[in-house]
């Protein structure tokens, strides 16, 4: 084969392979959206799930999913960021650092059902939290921390040594260089890591079945007291998320419209992830511009 033909064959091969990826993705996404979107309605979004009859909605599941995501992020972002800064800026190249990295790698490949059962034993049973949003958020934090930490670490590592040197040469302390220069420069990468793991959390079911529970209590969106058992903000109440709902109506649901409900819920889940994705990017760009080209302050 002469080089020209070889080049053509290779190009064709690469196009064929990428087409497979694109076709699979479009197929899955299209299938979910086409079969789910027609069933999305205001009624579906604003009414409670039904136990027996057709026509139930996912109001509480939708709220629970978002609420759990936010709580998990609030807990895991500071921890992951701290760990990533340590690993990237302070840790020496020794057995201890290697041990931490290996542990993170192992944890990130842990099946989520194992994290769920661990969360069940520790938070639900041992700490007596019961099936609760808090237990779910903590289990999701365990599930999320390894990936988030390594994503953050990569983002911070991506900032060139020259930037750090320039900060030090200006007389900045190590910490000020990190806070004032490295973190702003790493922000786009940090944000990408955040978005990726948010998608994973939002779609997670197995880790939540045994921690946040599979049923929702009656909740009142007008009750703003987080300590009241009926308040939507109460973190000690059991909560079913969208992903768990999909799992449940398909395994033990007895509602007659289970197929429709799960199709619509799946579509909704994907749409929320997309909206979150774009929203986080817009917020990130805004933040980056603010940090990097703000008016003199």
């Amino acid at each position: 084969m002469n080089p020209k033909t070889a080049n053509k064959v290779a190009t064709a091969g690469i196009y064929a392979l990428v087409s497979i990826v694109v076709i699979i993705l479009i197929g899955i996404l299209g299938n979910i959206l086409v079969s789910g979107v027609p069933h999305l309605s205001w009624h579906f979004l604003s009414s409670q799930a039904s136990s027996f009859q057709a026509g139930g909605g996912v109001r509480d599941q939708l709220f629970n999913s978002v609420y759990l995501l936010i709580l998990t992020m609030i807990i895991s972002i500071p921890i992951a960021l701290g760990a990533a800064i340590y690993l990237s800026e302070y840790a020496g190249d020794n057995w201890f650092t290697n041990l931490i990295r290996t542990t993170i790698e192992i944890l990130s490949s842990l099946p989520s059902i194992v994290v769920g059962l661990f969360g069940y034993l520790l938070f639900v049973v041992q700490f007596n939290f019961g099936f609760s949003i808090l237990a779910g958020a903590l289990a999701l934090t365990f599930f999320n921390l390894p990936t988030l930490t390594s994503n953050f670490e990569q983002a911070i590592d991506g900032v060139s040594q020259a930037q750090r040197d320039a900060g030090l040469a200006l007389g900045l302390s190590n910490w000020k260089t990190i806070r004032g220069i490295v973190l702003p420069a790493a922000l786009p990468g940090i944000l990408t890591g955040l978005i990726l793991s948010a998608g994973r959390i939002f779609g997670e079911a197995a880790a939540l079945i045994y921690t946040a529970g599979q049923s929702g209590s009656t909740i009142d969106y007008a009750n703003w007291n987080p300590f009241s058992p009926t308040s939507f903000l109460n973190v000690m109440r059991p909560a079913e998320t969208l992903a768990v709902h999909i799992w449940k109506v398909n395994t033990e649901g007895i509602i007659p419209d289970a197929t429709i409900v799960s199709a619509a819920t799946s579509a909704l889940l994907i749409i929320v992830v997309i909206v979150f994705n774009f929203g986080a990017r817009a917020l990130g760009n805004h933040l980056y511009r603010k940090l990097t080209a703000a008016k003199a302050s």
């Binding site: 040469a169 990097t292 703000a294």
Partner: protein, 251 residues
Amino acid sequence: MTTIISSKDVHLSYGNFEALHGISMDFKQNELTALLGPSGCGKSTFLRCINRMNDDIANVKITGEIKFENQDIYSPKTDLVWLRKEVGMVFQQPTPFPFSVYNNIAYGLKLAGIKDKALIDQRVEESLKQAAIWREVKDDLNKNAQSFSGGQQQRICIARALAVHPKVVLLDEPTSALDPISSSEIEETLLNLKHEFTFIMVTHNLQQASRISDMTAFFMNGDLIEYGTTSDMFMKPQKQITSDYLNGRFG
């Protein structure tokens, strides 16, 4: 002319490898000194000793003495923030921070404790003018400094170094990442400024050294081989190896 920096028998080693074998040399105030030599000869390492940028490298050991205005900079009493305000640095790659042009310059000033907004404004303008970049950025002070061309970024970095009014500015191959036109603009900038500052510049560009430096030092394999006025060094070097290098016979 007064000596502003003097080094005495400076040795530096990374682990078992000694990169500098006892460098002793004095730098005069308001002169531009060029440090020349083949790659790996220790000139950049020595330059980075002068503002203690080598401190954080793992396993590094530095002995000997470097005095800035008769103060031992390696004494435990030395305040690094003070030292780096007095001895600024510009790197090979332009390193503007990911902020606006204005904030890049103001950052060091605020760090030095200047809070007066009017004074900061004035210093920003003054240093950008000194670095010959004011005309090009004065309408874009709020634009991200990283969005400018390489040559402009480098002059912004020079302005950032000058803004805190250092006495000495270390330049580590400041033009080697730039195109010839940007390089000559930076050379001109340095020439105009050398009456106000002391420059110590590492360069690989022999013509550049002969054009703008007053003093030239030739390094090889971690030793200072020869040091003298630039015209002496280029016209009548004392050692054969210096002559060979400066005439481009190796390196």
